[in-house]
């Protein structure tokens, strides 16, 4: 591959471009982490671009103890894990049925899900809010979870049906000849075979749910059922110009998703590409 003649100038330009982009992208986040180790006073009175001289960890104690960050973290975990589990299970079931057990109604039902991919949550926010209230689910975890699951399904059904189509019919036929029913075939053959698409779907759904703000913030009151993004939004208002604590709460809020990204970065980028291309 590399016997091509690329001039030195091109090489330099390309490296400069890539490094510039990378630095520009990462620097604000790096800067944020640095500032979280300054007190507000130090931040306001010294150069805003400087490294902290005395690394101050008091902000972290404050954010962890006073703010009750663990509660928000737990809510984020609950919302994300339950949504992922439900979306992966339901989307696999429906995807398999749409792809392999064709009925006349399949075209209509499958089409309905596909249309949902491009719809925006905000355009149905008011009816959702009214419905959650009418169902008595305002300020409960279910009131957040049910909409999350429904909103995750269009992409899920699309990906799963697409994947299930590639499973050979002969395989399903031979399972039937051995006496397996459709549900049995799904549980013991199709679902395990769909593991790659399930992983992709789980990762897309997880990052989406973890970062979701508007719906969760609207459907809950008080801190009990709010997740990390809502907590960040609230502190930004409440802490105002208490920069040290503000930057620290942002940093703490960043840590879980950064760890997740470090672990699954390849699957995340693959999943995004798979979901977006034909979406």
């Amino acid at each position: 591959m590399d016997n091509r003649n690329i001039s030195v100038v091109t090489k330099v330009v390309v490296y400069v471009v890539m490094i510039a982009f990378t630095v520009l992208t990462v620097y604000p986040i790096f800067w944020l982490v640095l500032q979280s180790f300054k007190t507000s006073q130090v931040y306001m009175t010294t150069n805003k671009l400087s490294f902290p001289v005395n690394w101050y960890v008091g902000n972290y104690k404050f954010v962890w103890n006073q703010v009750g960050f663990s509660n928000f973290f737990m809510n984020s975990v609950i919302y994300s894990v339950v949504t992922v589990a439900a979306v992966v299970a339901l989307a696999n079931m429906a995807g398999f049925a749409f792809a392999k057990l064709r009925f006349k109604i399949t075209k209509l039902l499958h089409g309905l899900f596909i249309v949902g991919i491009l719809l925006t949550l905000q355009s149905i926010l008011i009816p959702l809010f009214l419905m959650v209230n009418a169902a008595g689910l305002y300020n409960t975890r279910l009131g957040v979870l049910i909409p999350y699951i429904g909103l995750g399904l269009p992409m899920g059904v699309y990906l799963c049906a697409d994947f299930a189509k590639s499973i050979h019919d002969e395989l399903l036929e031979s399972a039937r000849i051995d006496g397996a029913r459709y549900l049995r075939t799904f549980v013991s053959i199709v679902f395990p075979m769909c593991a790659p698409v399930s992983v992709t779907l789980a990762i897309i759904t997880f990052t989406g749910t973890w970062n979701e703000f508007i719906l969760m913030n609207l459907m809950t009151a008080g801190d009990k059922y709010k997740a990390i993004p809502a907590a960040v939004g609230r502190f930004a208002g409440a802490l105002g110009s208490d920069y040290g604590k503000l930057f620290t709460s942002l940093t703490v809020a960043l840590i879980p998703i950064l760890i997740f990204y470090a672990l699954f970065r390849n699957q995340i980028t693959k999943g995004v590409a798979a979901g977006a291309v034909k979406g």
């Binding site: 944020l32 925006t120 355009s123 930004a236």
Partner: protein, 300 residues
């Protein structure tokens, strides 16, 4: 039980849970929102409420003609975001993907890719609050930098308030388009490029005659994603500017949200804005299907 009966039953068992949740949470509210926009409903009970009446297109007429022009400001901002995507993120993302996929650099491909995509996995709320602190106010980084050049600089309200928002959007989502282009460039058969090289084609010709044509469908898809992404923009601006100053950085979704849930609620207006957003989405879906038909072979 007959085979046919079993198949039917299995189908129902597999499909119904997803269909019921989806219809309840997405399909029904979409229709409901459009219906509500034709009434004067403004909070409280819906069914059996004697004060609710059908008002036709009144909310829409008000939205289009009220003197502040808030709707047009918001719509224009949505269009600006689309422009940033189409003229900024898509070309830049394409360029970065091209550099990475053609291995124009020998080392660090995966590191560059990981780092440039990084902002996409972070909550837009966090990004919004962060850049609010970086850009606005006396104690911002922007002021610090301005003071380097002019020690007497004072903080003033930006005359072009959308500019910082657009820059942050450009910063945040360029990596998204890079990933999409990269995935599709990697699907081009390397043998084709190899053959062209053996025939003496230079890098520029390979780009122009092989890579660009192969990705034409993806570029169109990206433009559609840019429009739907612009409609979905909410959290970032909410956290960064709350739509201010004076509503100048609002987008449709934020305008809708503020109309419905902040201050005195104006549900009819908010529902009318929602319907406009649904209509834009429907148009996008139609275009996507149409484009999908044209580029079907190229994309697959």
């Amino acid at each position: 039980m007959t085979i046919k009966g079993e198949k039917r039953l299995s189908y129902a068992a597999l499909v119904l849970p997803a269909v019921i949740i989806y219809l309840t949470v997405v399909a029904f509210p979409t229709v409901f929102s459009v219906l509500l926009s034709l009434t004067n409903y403004n909070g409280g009970r819906i069914f059996g409420n004697p004060n609710i009446s059908f008002v036709g297109l009144k909310s829409y007429i008000w939205m289009f003609t009220e003197p502040s022009g808030n709707f047009y400001t918001s719509l224009a901002n949505n269009l600006l975001i689309v422009c940033v995507s189409v003229f900024g993120q898509i070309p830049l993302g394409f360029m970065l993907a091209y550099i990475l996929s053609r291995k124009l650099i020998k080392r660090g491909n995966s590191l560059f890719q990981t780092m440039i995509y990084l902002p996409n996995v972070i909550s837009p709320i966090i990004i919004g609050v962060l850049f609010n602190a970086i850009i606005y106010g006396r104690n911002s980084v922007l002021m610090e930098i301005r003071r380097l050049f002019n020690p007497a600089a004072v903080f003033t309200i930006n005359t072009n308030p959308m500019a910082p928002v657009l820059i942050v959007i450009l910063w945040m989502f360029t990596g998204f388009y890079m990933i999409i282009f990269l995935a599709n460039m990697q699907r081009i058969d390397p043998a084709v490029i190899e053959a062209a090289r053996i025939d003496g084609a230079k890098e520029g010709r390979i780009l122009l005659h092989i890579i660009l044509p192969a990705l034409s469908g993806v570029i169109v898809t990206s433009a559609i994603l840019a429009i739907s992404g612009s409609l979905k923009t909410f959290d970032l601006i909410y956290a960064m500017t709350s739509g201010g100053p004076a509503g100048q950085t609002r987008v449709l979704s934020l305008y809708m949200y503020l109309s419905a849930f902040q201050g005195a609620p104006n549900y009819p207006l908010a529902n009318a804005i929602s319907t406009v957003m649904v209509l834009i989405s429907v148009v996008l879906i139609v275009i996507t299907r149409w484009v999908g038909g044209i580029f079907a072979e190229k994309v697959d």
